[in-house]
Symmetry: C2
Subunit: 238 residues, 2 copies
């Protein structure tokens, strides 16, 4: 075990207090240190494996929270909300609430990569959950502070399940009910860079096109198509 | 809460003993009953929502088990093994070890659907995990008997990570490292039903074709293509 030096230790303790955990919480500091270390800072001891565990922690806490908060929703609807809840976008917002990037050890090369900042924040946040879970092998260091946030985000997403991530919501629905992923077919229809309808995306599932959408980028067109398909499938399922 | 009648209760107790749990285990019998009820038997009280929770339980127990058993593996490799571990195929095998279909309440209409049997077994197995987790809100009724199986399957999959589910393994790898899903393009190249090379599948990722494969069915061609792409990506990643 590689223990953090005293300056880093103090910094990590500050974060733990910010999470609302007692300062004598049974935390494995070496794991927490690793959770907040990017691969550009250490190739061998970084957050990647802890992110793998933390992603599963987040999914379980979210599943439990949604199951108990919305007992009337179907599996597909629960999956759709969770897809938005565990999206990089939501996780990066959560990370920001705790100013997580301040605690992340990172190489200068990655710092320049502004576009990767959201993914990095989300990954570090999941790794943080992984390190807390593995400190005790249960959810006692995670639930107390995470549930409040999840409930708040879920409530927002619930009012507009598609607000955050239509592609994720659609994927949740199709995996739960059709055991398959939707197929996106994108065509470039406009030829100017700024064209608001430059791309046309279609969503295909089981041999049928369920929705189409246009956008300035491939991604935007796909989100629009996913939104149309999501609603079409919900109507179809009654 | 809808409590099972005494005959059903006895049957469920028998299953609990089979799982190796003590007969005074703090099980919520109504939940266990629901976990083993198919939608064709009850539209309102069936396994679907518990499957949603159980899927997350399984993912966390698997993540923890793999993280501890293979500390040397990368996140992508761990994800690939887990994808195979949580596949319907593996779960149906696990369900069979406990003869789970004997305990499943199901309508006659679904019984005729032999093709759906594997999916049903896998879903009921996940729902079982969900009901045990929600009985105590921790993993104390799940880990004691599940870990042994997971370790055994993981060991087999590890020796051939692609044995069970190449598409799942590839998806784990691309999600972990490229934050995207592979795109399958399938063309019908043979025109006879039994033709062993009837379909040609290609796997595309970030504008490049990473592998191709042929097969008698779309699925078989896709698995072959996924296998080629999985290895090509592993080489690429060094």
């Amino acid at each position: 075990m590689h223990l953090p030096d005293s300056r880093r230790q103090k910094q990590l303790q500050q974060l733990v207090v910010k999470l609302g955990l007692p300062d004598n919480a049974p935390i494995q500091w070496a794991l927490l240190d690793q959770a907040l270390t990017h691969a550009t800072f250490s190739q061998t001891r970084n957050y990647e494996q802890l992110e793998f565990v933390g992603d599963a922690v987040l999914r379980l806490v979210s599943a439990e929270c949604l199951y108990e908060t919305y007992p009337q929703l179907s599996e597909g609807e629960l999956s759709a909300i969770r897809a938005a809840l565990v999206s990089d976008r939501t996780l990066a917002k959560l990370a920001d609430r705790y100013d997580l990037s301040r605690y992340l050890l990172i190489g200068a090369s990655a710092l320049g990569d502004k576009a990767g900042a959201q993914t990095r924040s989300a990954a570090a946040f999941e790794a943080l959950l992984g390190s807390l879970y593995l400190s005790t092998h249960d959810l006692s260091l995670v639930r107390p502070w995470l549930n409040v946030h999840l409930q708040e985000f879920a409530d927002t997403i619930r009012r507009d399940p598609t607000l955050e991530n239509y592609k994720g919501a659609l994927q949740g629905l199709t995996q739960a009910h059709y055991q398959t992923l939707p197929d996106y077919r994108v065509t470039e229809i406009g030829h100017n860079h700024g064209d608001k309808e430059r791309f046309l995306a279609e969503v295909w599932l089981n041999g049928k096109c369920w929705g189409a959408g246009k956008g300035q980028s491939k991604k935007a067109a796909e989100q629009e198509a996913a939104r149309a398909a999501f609603h079409a499938l919900q109507i179809q399922r009654g």
